[in-house]
Symmetry: C2
């Protein structure tokens, strides 16, 4: 069907090895031969088969990158950061859409073996034994991104320092003079870390703890909106003197705002609200939401760098990385 290296060789009367050498940029080749070969490649419109090359080189230069949920608005930034660095280093990325399913992840890992990926960046929602087992069997470098595997697993990770970030946000609110600060918990592992920071902060400062957790997993805006709404309602009922709310995400914050709007309460007039994520709509004048930026592109890049170190420098146990976030102050929070 398509043109092979043998066709090129025959066309210019040299051996297949010679063509292969010019293809791979070897320098010990007479200019004349090289030019003949290049011409032939052009004329025959020859494109070498990666499949064949992979097989003989026993290298695929493919990295698998897991997408937790293809609708996740953050994965894109992570991916962009990772992709850039990886491509600069000659690797291609094979994306796998997990749709929040552990089974799909297992399938992807299986695929990674079949396709002989050389490394993996994954973002699993849960770390069970089967997953960890499969990862070990893979025997290729794996880095966790935005998730923290159990210490014992030996899988290194890159994540934001959610604890520190939450502490900073609480400090910011507290510095504004707020002492009755409620917290809407994001019902995920990350959310739990933020809640811990929240609680620690309250204890240290001796201010009351008012954290509300609504159970539904809430990734999409409409679900999170409901959760934020319900949480805000509870806060309003149970702790009517609350002056500030630290919501686990912008989505939850917006949900809370929906409730307050319904009640005729103003933000920040009656209550200050802060979120996390810096969603694109957070800056709209209706919300003007104080929030945190998570530097996701940088995270993706850092994960890719870690993986490259593991692959190329054979560094088997790189240190986990926790990146800083930064507060973005807008109008939804004011001094009390």
């Amino acid at each position: 069907m398509s043109v092979t290296i043998r066709d090129v060789a025959q066309f210019c009367g040299v051996s297949v090895s010679t063509v292969s050498r010019v293809l791979n940029g070897y320098t010990d080749i007479s200019e004349e031969t090289a030019n003949k070969v290049f011409d032939a490649i052009k004329k025959l419109d020859f494109v070498p088969s990666n499949t064949a090359r992979m097989l003989s080189k026993k290298k695929t230069r493919i990295i698998g990158l897991t997408i937790p949920d293809i609708k996740d608005p953050f994965f894109s930034e992570n991916a962009a950061g990772a992709e850039k660095l990886l491509q600069e280093n000659g690797y291609e990325i094979f994306y796998g859409n997990m749709e929040r399913s552990g089974e799909k992840l297992l399938n992807f890992l299986q695929q990674a073996r079949q396709m002989r990926f050389e490394g993996l960046i994954i973002t699993p929602d849960e770390w069970n034994d089967e997953l960890l087992d499969t990862i070990h069997k893979l025997s290729i470098p794996v880095v966790a991104l935005r998730r923290r595997p159990p210490q014992s697993s030996g899988v290194p990770y890159v994540d934001n320092d959610h604890y520190k970030g939450a502490m900073e946000m609480m400090t910011y609110l507290s510095d504004l003079g707020h002492t009755k600060i409620a917290h809407i918990v994001l019902p995920t592992g990350i959310g739990e870390i933020r809640r811990e920071a929240y609680r620690d902060f309250c204890r240290i400062r001796g201010i009351p703890e008012r954290d509300i957790r609504i159970e539904t997993p809430a990734n999409k805006l409409d679900q999170a909106k409901e959760n934020g709404y319900e949480a805000m309602k509870q806060i309003h009922k149970q702790y009517p003197d609350t002056t500030a709310v630290f919501a686990g995400t912008d989505q939850l914050a917006i949900g809370a705002m929906v409730y307050l709007r319904e009640q005729g309460l103003s933000v920040p007039g009656n209550i200050s609200i802060a979120g996390v994520n810096d969603m694109d709509y957070a800056s709209l004048p209706w919300f003007d939401l104080t929030t945190m930026s998570l530097n996701r592109t940088e995270m993706g890049r850092a994960a890719a760098q870690m993986l490259l170190d593991m692959i190329e420098k054979r560094q088997t146990h790189p240190e986990n990385l926790l990146l800083d976030s930064s507060i973005i102050v807008r109008g939804s929070t004011i001094k009390i």
Copy 2:
């Protein structure tokens, strides 16, 4: 390094061909042998190399799918629809992030050749000769998704029927009693189609044409917001008696709302606004935006189906497909 089919064969004392046969589910194999082989596979933890298999089969079962912009919130739905159908049919998807760059697309097509993809679903922002040329050289089935290639190219496409959709929206607004309807043009090919429908509608009904086009390409909310804002300002200045605005997208509609809010004008009290896309935030009570749903998952699926027909049924010239959209009526539009 890793265990090969030869190891498995030796382990159970049969030939490589036999192992290969059980691997491929041939039935003319004694149960005993088959079981021996399966056991060995388990014990040795053997996973066949896809690379080798691809090479000998001369089939990769890989479909390339282009992501126009990894931050594009729609691609995800398209992709989800395509991925599902393709995987059901035994194909894997290789995603390529184009970042709105024509050069990257060309690179991806090159990669597609090297990797011997068997089909391609692409969403290019522009159809130039170089692109079309490259596509033809590829000599594998290609389907355009959400973009319409020139007739002469012979590349079939799947898209929404933007013309019809815009007509329906205009009809809806008109049926509400509006006769002074402005249009904010989305500055892309799709936007031009909507504008055409808008103009045709105005002419047919004999109502004035008031379309405003702001040049900046506006994919992200913050850019589109600016554009919508500016366009609304112009509309307000030039056509102060306008009672309804049909914005080319929800993002533009929100931008328009920002302007109106600034001017102390109410939606829909002073002016009705409709968008297109049904973004997740369109339903928030601050906007409560009437809009159109574009059935993107279905589109992705349809594109995949078309591609499968081309690959497997050797149908070289499938008919282009235009899918319907549906209006979602909310509170931002009212009778006049």
